[in-house]
Amino acid sequence: MAASQTEALSFFSTTIGKKLIMSITGAILLCFVIVHMLGNLQVFAGQAKLNAYAAFLQSLGGVLWAFRALMLLAVLLHIYTGLTLWFQNRASRPIRYHAFTPTKSTISSRNMMLLGLALGFFVVYHILHLTLGKVHPPFDPADVFTNVVRGFSQPLIAGAYVLAMIFLGLHLYHGVWSMFQSLGLTADRFDRARRGLATLVAVALTAGNISMPVAIFISNMPR
């Protein structure tokens, strides 16, 4: 046991090990984001449907808390490891270039940390808004649909959600692409497919999530 522990420690102390943590936690969070979106899209099916779904989730009790704990762990590990790597990466080039012309990196790849931090703050805000109901009262724990519609009818709130989802798309565009690399699961002949998958995931999640605030905001605009 001791030997395998040192083995694991020595592996996770390398940047390659840390990137593996990033990709596994990232994959967990990605799964959550997909499920979360699919569930929430029920908003288009009407008040009853969405509220029933919410009630079902609440009824899970212990399972829900176990799931929440797993998510929290994944988020914290993702953030902590990400920041550790970011500080190490910053330190590896103490003097910056006067000119930098990228060849293959993208806006998303170069801003993963900022996008990630922004998403982190958004998650806190989102929980305060629609889980705990602390930021934009009134809030009715039993009527998720009304909470959502009330929130997204206000331009600033809807705008914040849209912006956050664009960030999410950008974060995933690079995240999904690089996840396979960190897991060691790539080959030249799948390169284009991998790019395609990353694009698809990013666009689908962004579009799906944005559709809700946008649709609600437009339908509730004073005519």
């Binding site: 592996f11 590896s92 000119a99």
Partner: protein
């Protein structure tokens, strides 16, 4: 052709260094980038100033000695090209050209554009070899190697160790260099006995040298003069995971 060069000048490791403008006049499109620097240096020497120090040797793109970040791109704007094989016909007359040394904590500047890439050698000393005593080898054709595997090993082995991958990487990560060597030996049957130990030892030294992590920006692939593919880094990751799982 005439150019304005904005060049990093630094007398030695203790000098903070600065960007200095130099004129490059009367340049012929058929000159290589380094020959253009030769012309500038000859003028500087005539004027009694110290010429721009830059590393170079074979000037045919194979020794891996030369390299500078030109207008923000390692080895200049042309893909799959070393600086010595970059010709001035790829620039526009009158351009301002920014020339900076490789920048990384692990590559201290020695003078002007010359940096110390010893960290890459130290990674190699740690395990970049197959241990085989001179004279103890088996007959060369004793182990047949399928052509696709031999070709893939050759793709990796083409690395010239110039350090452009480190220079271009926003994190100054050496993973493309490291992965090329690890992959070459991991692919070949001769490399199997030391496969796990090798990748662990090489990664350990790389990690201790002040480099950054791979964030899969792919800048390394974009500037690599020998077209080494990013997927070798994936292979490196796989090799390290495998090595730790096995032991």
């Amino acid at each position: 052709m005439n150019f304005t060069l904005r060049v990093w000048r630094q007398k030695d490791a203790s000098d903070p260094g600065r960007m200095v403008d130099h004129r490059a006049d009367g340049i012929i499109p058929d000159m290589s980038f380094l020959e253009m620097l030769d012309v500038v240096n000859q003028k500087l020497i005539e004027k009694g100033e110290e010429p721009i120090a830059f590393d170079h040797d074979c000037r045919e793109g194979i020794c891996g000695c030369c390299g500078a970040v030109v207008n923000g791109t390692a080895h200049g704007p042309l893909p799959a090209t070393t600086l010595c094989q970059l010709y001035m016909r790829h620039f526009r007359d009158g351009d301002v050209i920014t020339i900076e040394p490789w920048r990384a904590k692990a590559f201290p500047v020695l003078r002007d554009l010359c940096v110390d890439r010893g960290a890459l050698d130290r990674i190699m000393y740690a395990g970049g070899y197959i241990t085989v005593r001179t004279g103890s080898a088996a007959e060369a054709n004793a182990i047949p190697i399928p052509k696709p595997i031999a070709d893939r090993a050759m793709d990796a082995a083409a690395c010239i160790g110039c350090g452009a991958c480190v220079a271009a990487c926003p994190n100054a990560s050496p993973m493309l260099f490291l992965s090329a060597k690890v992959s070459q030996y991991a692919l070949l049957p001769q490399g199997q006995p030391e496969r796990e130990l090798r990748v662990k030892k090489m990664v350990a030294v790389a990690e201790a040298s002040g480099f950054g992590a791979c964030s899969v920006h792919a800048e390394c692939e974009g500037v690599c003069p020998k077209n080494i593919k990013l997927t070798f880094i994936s292979k490196l990751n796989r090799e390290l995971i495998r090595a730790h799982l096995k032991s």
